[in-house]
Subunit: 350 residues, 2 copies
């Protein structure tokens, strides 16, 4: 299993499989920050010790009956630049890890699990699932955490919990987040109020691509800001509850659209469909906006006979590094924009 395998779109389980409410909640993600006792944090860690951590984590996971056969280790120092950008586009590593020389990542075959090693913390364990299933993601990550904790001595304080490089992660070391597609709330200028309301319950919302109201593709990440003083279960339930409220607002406002407002939206959606099915050249940023419109059209029943999950996948598979990867040739930006337009046409033409 190499990078090529990761790039098979049907393998990206967290975005190409159905999940609860996956029309609006694209994916759920839980991440744990963990560090090994009595070893310096990664930014002060000698290369040899960094390698030892990678080796220990890898061996522990390889020894597991379930995970063992399905994982791959990628050392950042050995990866070509384009593969690092690809892993970052696929939400499997952070840009910080990509630029660290002692970093590594372990990814499972369906890309639901990623374990970054020697990023800001020794370990950043992540589980991503399609739709709204933070609770399921937590169950899965808890098992991996137990598996690793049985072999590695995690830095833990009885009073405050897990110790982390940055104090904002101390305690549970957990970040629970969902990726939501909120085109109609965005169109109706409701996101500003949601940003404000959400921060009062200790959550934060940001655009996946670009901040705030400039969010490209109308994709937002909602996550907990506080990791200390709350149990993991409370955090999960808090994020899920707020997500359900936003989800219902988006649904309701879609259903209640009528008259000229609805006609104007249908027009925008259908034009975007016309552009995506005909354009010869398209940038990834521009594609995001049209994919968002077409996805909304499919979800609202305005565009028929198109598989909704195809649109979810396109959010990821139209990224520059992904397009570069599937084309299997070195391309200039213009060539990539040509290839992307062709790729999208093939995916969504009925």
């Amino acid at each position: 299993m190499g990078i090529e395998n990761l790039m098979e779109p049907s393998n990206i389980k967290w975005i190409s499989s159905p999940g609860p409410d996956s029309d609006i909640v694209i994916s759920s993600r839980v991440r744990l920050a963990r560090n090994i006792n009595d070893i310096p944090f990664p930014h002060l860690l000698p290369e040899q010790e960094a390698k030892t951590i990678i080796k220990n984590v890898h061996e522990t996971l390889r020894a597991d009956a379930n995970l063992g056969q399905n994982i791959e280790l990628y050392n950042m120092a050995e990866l070509p630049e384009e593969h690092k950008i690809l892993l970052s586009e696929m939400h499997l590593i952070s840009p910080d890890l990509a630029s660290s020389k002692n970093g590594a990542v372990i990814v499972n075959q369906d890309e639901t699990i990623s374990i970054m090693i020697n990023e800001e913390d020794h370990l950043r364990i992540q589980v991503m699932l399609p739709g709204l299933q933070l609770d399921e993601a937590f169950k899965e990550i808890d098992k991996i955490d137990d598996l690793l904790e049985a072999k590695l001595d995690f830095a833990f304080d009885e009073k405050i919990g897990y110790l982390t490089a940055c104090p904002t992660n101390v305690g549970t070391g957990m970040r629970a987040s969902v990726m939501m597609h909120l085109p109609v709330l965005t169109m109706m200028d409701q996101m500003g109020q949601i940003f404000a309301t959400i921060s009062q319950v200790g959550l934060v919302v940001r655009g996946i691509y670009g901040e705030g109201s400039q969010a490209k593709g109308n994709l937002y990440q909602i996550s907990n800001q506080i990791t200390l003083g709350k149990s993991e279960e409370d955090i999960i339930q808090n994020v899920m509850g707020v997500t359900r409220q936003i989800l219902m607002s988006e649904r309701k406002i879609r259903e209640n659209l009528s008259g000229e407002a609805r006609v104007r939206l249908e027009d925008r959606i259908l034009r975007s469909y016309g552009i995506l099915t005909n354009a010869k050249i398209i940038s990834s940023q521009e594609a995001l906006a049209y994919i968002s419109d077409v996805k909304l059209g499919v979800d609202m029943g305005i565009i028929k006979d198109l598989e909704p999950l195809v649109l979810n996948s396109l959010f990821i598979t139209t990224g520059p590094a992904y397009i570069q990867g599937i084309s299997n040739t070195e391309m200039s930006p213009v060539e990539r924009d040509l290839y992307r337009a062709d790729f999208i046409r093939q995916k969504i033409r009925k």
Copy 2:
């Protein structure tokens, strides 16, 4: 034959029939200004005398074996506002005639001939033909001129020629013009230079919809500015010669487009096609721009299986009054924009 008959798109011969070079030269038009001797110009003309002119012109034409059965007289005072706007959109009357209470127009069945009565001059005779055939249009208009001159005493001075209300028309009283579709010269910012060059040979170019470089639909009218001191034949040959030069420039620049410039143009054309075949609501101004792109696509072979003349017709048949007319119901602007989008989709979807 009433207004409804005029609105049958296949009857608009000057735009829906093939003609020489009608890919780029949409139509050719010759217009003659004529006035009756010893009668005040229309702006000073008593109602009764105005009516007499209308009657005399109408009777003269009705008596002709060829034209007699194929013409219809419309008195402006009796026409509803929307029908006047329609005739204006169809290039059969001027806005000035529409607002004159003593004005009338005689139109033949295929809309190639229009004779405005009591506009600025007593008579404004117009012949329009598809493609580049100013010479043919002149032959036709010359016959009508002879027919009328045999019965009516035209104001004519041996030295200076036909007398007209405005001195800019004195002499031949003739304006010869072509309507050209010049999207690539426009895109390449060449129109400014053409404007300048053309004025040196006594011609003038202006946008059909909007002036100068803002020309909507990339449609331009090229016509003679001088009516005095030149023969009719010289004027016709001058306009035809310059038209052929511009035509060749537009053709050459299309053929020579290559590399990224061509790809970007193909992309624009295909997106416009995607929008026109999918939009649910569209204004006439916006439609003009996309129709221009799609027409260019058809003419360049980028869009196949679409009848080129359908696009030429759409330049006229997407106008607000035309859309209002074919829908046969009273519509708000939004309803009209919905109807227009639907009408265009039906015409160009393969």
